[in-house]
């Protein structure tokens, strides 16, 4: 089943407030084939999370359309599992209850849930922590639970909103490798938001660089470096420099616009 799995067509998103309108997304067009690992890259305020939330169905576009498997996105749903930067685990549920929750909602039989949750606990190295509450886990462990929770749904699409942004560098690399392993094993389509150039280069098949307000696609590039990638290699660093220039241009615009806004106030 190849072809265009996720279609973003002429998407605009305007946030209205009392005194002004902010154009968060302007004329975004993306076709994402099944199984592709896409990173949305850009400085904060470039609309990459807005785009992800629109695909997730949390905040629909002002105009334009988003379809997944030819179905128009109108609401959040378990076919597009989301991993949040803040983990968003339910603190009153143990690790295994958190992972089982989506399956319980679906009405899966109890013994089937137990088998699938056990398999995921093993897959993500969480088995010994299954009875713990989220407050007793480290950030890395919590994000493993959040990943297991969306994997339980077996959704074809994984949406990840800066999922490793709050983690230390070593835990982050560890989870990136884990994610790549799971992705190559399960063949899911991943849309991954980040502002880290290195993270995008390490993970993605394709990097979509976005501009600062209004959010548009500045560069849409395929990354063909062989996996597993070596961030110290020359090829990696050539691309890193190229992307760095693109992203820093937008970061500079972000900075300039803030200075102007501050001067007006």
């Amino acid at each position: 089943m190849s072809g265009n799995h996720i279609q973003v067509q002429n998407v605009n998103k305007v946030f209205q407030s009392a005194d002004r309108n902010v154009i968060a997304l302007q004329d975004i067009n993306l076709s994402i084939p099944q199984g592709q690992f896409v990173c949305l890259l850009g400085p904060s305020g470039c609309g990459k999370s807005t785009l992800l939330n629109a695909i997730a169905g949390f905040s629909l576009p002002t105009s334009g359309s988003i379809t997944t498997d030819s179905k128009v996105v109108t609401a959040p749903g378990p076919d597009r599992g989301m991993v949040f930067q803040e983990y968003a685990l339910f603190p009153w549920m143990t690790v295994e209850k958190n992972i089982a929750f989506g399956l319980e909602i679906k009405g899966v039989a109890a013994n089937e849930i137990a088998t699938r949750v056990d398999a995921l606990l093993h897959k993500l190295g969480l088995y010994d922590f299954r009875q713990r509450f989220p407050k007793d886990l480290s950030g890395g462990m919590r994000q493993r639970v959040a990943i297991a929770r969306v994997l339980a749904l077996d959704s074809p699409i994984l949406l990840m909103d800066e999922p490793f942004g709050a983690l230390d560098a070593l835990t982050r690399r560890n989870l990136q490798d884990e994610l790549l392993r799971i992705w190559s094993e399960l063949g899911k389509t991943v849309i991954f938001v980040t502002h880290s150039i290195e993270e995008a280069l390490y993970l993605a098949d394709r990097i979509v660089v976005m501009t600062y307000r209004p959010g548009t696609v500045k560069r849409d590039m395929l990354v063909t470096l062989p996996r597993l990638r070596d961030p110290a290699s020359a090829d990696f660093n050539t691309l890193k420099r190229e992307l760095g220039l693109l992203v820093m241009e937008e970061q500079q615009r972000h900075h300039d616009q803030e200075m102007i806004a501050a001067a007006v106030d």
Binding site: A56, F58, A75, P76, G77, P78, R80, G81, M82, F84, E86, A88, L89, F90, P91, W92, M93, F101, G102, I105, K106, F133, P134, K135, R149, V150, L153
Partner: protein
């Protein structure tokens, strides 16, 4: 480590006892020296004796009555304490039992909130005690007016806390649950309700505290038994030792209730970040 912990614990208990023992000693000396009228301030020892007499059955054990256990708990103190507890429990269950679903609805639905909040805000500042005349007029004397007053005392703290608990559920949990495919009812029962539990429980705690205050007051006015009635009755006979014995019992009962609610709190909130077991 364990023995060191135990030693600190005993040291804590020891230092906690110094001031009470000192005060009781001074009190006993004052009373023994006859510096105060014994009807105004009886000696601590007299209070202890009175407390024991109050606790023990008033009639000698007779085979013919309802058995050994019934006799053992037939002391006035136990009957009073059970009467007061009965009113607290029933009144609290009615008050909180009405406040919880109402608070959940008001918290979850802006429309229900808009309808009912103005009324709740007007009624809430009226102290339960101010309902006494109306309670007696409506329900006469005995348990019904007391339970009515206690229910009112428990109602508002539980209501207000439940509303804010539901309204302050972090939107990230709601987003995550909707992403997992939760329906409105699942969202409410399995996400919003548990997320509101810390607030609801602090309302429960305040509600039980209020119920305990109100039970004593209402027994002083509308009921013919219970700890509140007993200390007021003792005043009429100038039994100051019994007044103090009754007060100590009220204090112990209050402490027991608070400890029990605290334990329940810690169990239900064992997942909560701010609490250690």
């Amino acid at each position: 480590m364990a023995s060191a912990n135990l030693r600190t614990r005993w040291r804590q208990i020891g230092s906690g006892l110094i001031v009470p023992i000192g005060l009781i000693t001074v009190w006993q000396i004052v009373a023994t020296m006859g510096w105060t009228n014994e009807h105004v301030l009886p000696s601590p020892w007299a209070v202890v004796l009175r407390w024991v007499a109050y606790l023990l059955p008033q009639t000698p054990y007779a085979e013919a009555t309802n058995g050994w256990l019934a006799w053992a708990v037939s002391g006035e103190l136990l009957v009073d304490a059970m009467g007061s507890m009965y009113r607290v429990v029933v009144g609290f269950l009615i008050g909180a039992g009405l406040a919880l679903p109402l608070g959940l609805m008001m918290g979850a639905s802006p429309r229900v909130y808009a309808w009912l909040n103005p009324l709740a805000q007007v009624l809430r500042p009226i102290p339960p005690i101010a309902y006494i005349p109306l309670a007696i007029l409506w329900f006469g004397l005995g348990n019904p007016p007391a339970i009515f007053l206690i229910a009112i005392g428990a109602f508002f703290p539980v209501l207000i806390n439940t509303i804010s608990g539901v309204r302050q559920v972090d939107s990230i949990y709601i987003r995550a649950a909707r992403n997992l495919g939760a329906s409105q009812s699942t969202l409410f029962l399995r996400v919003m309700l548990p997320a509101a539990v810390p607030y609801i429980l602090s309302g429960v705690r305040i509600g039980i505290g209020t119920a305990f205050i109100v039970v004593i007051v209402s027994e002083m006015i509308a009921v013919n038994n219970g700890l509140g009635f007993r200390i007021l009755e003792a005043r009429e006979y100038f039994w100051s030792d019994k007044i103090i014995a009754g007060m100590i019992t009220i204090g112990m009962l209050g402490l027991a209730i608070d400890t029990a609610v605290n334990k329940l709190n810690n169990y239900l909130l064992r997942w909560h970040r701010g609490l250690e077991h």
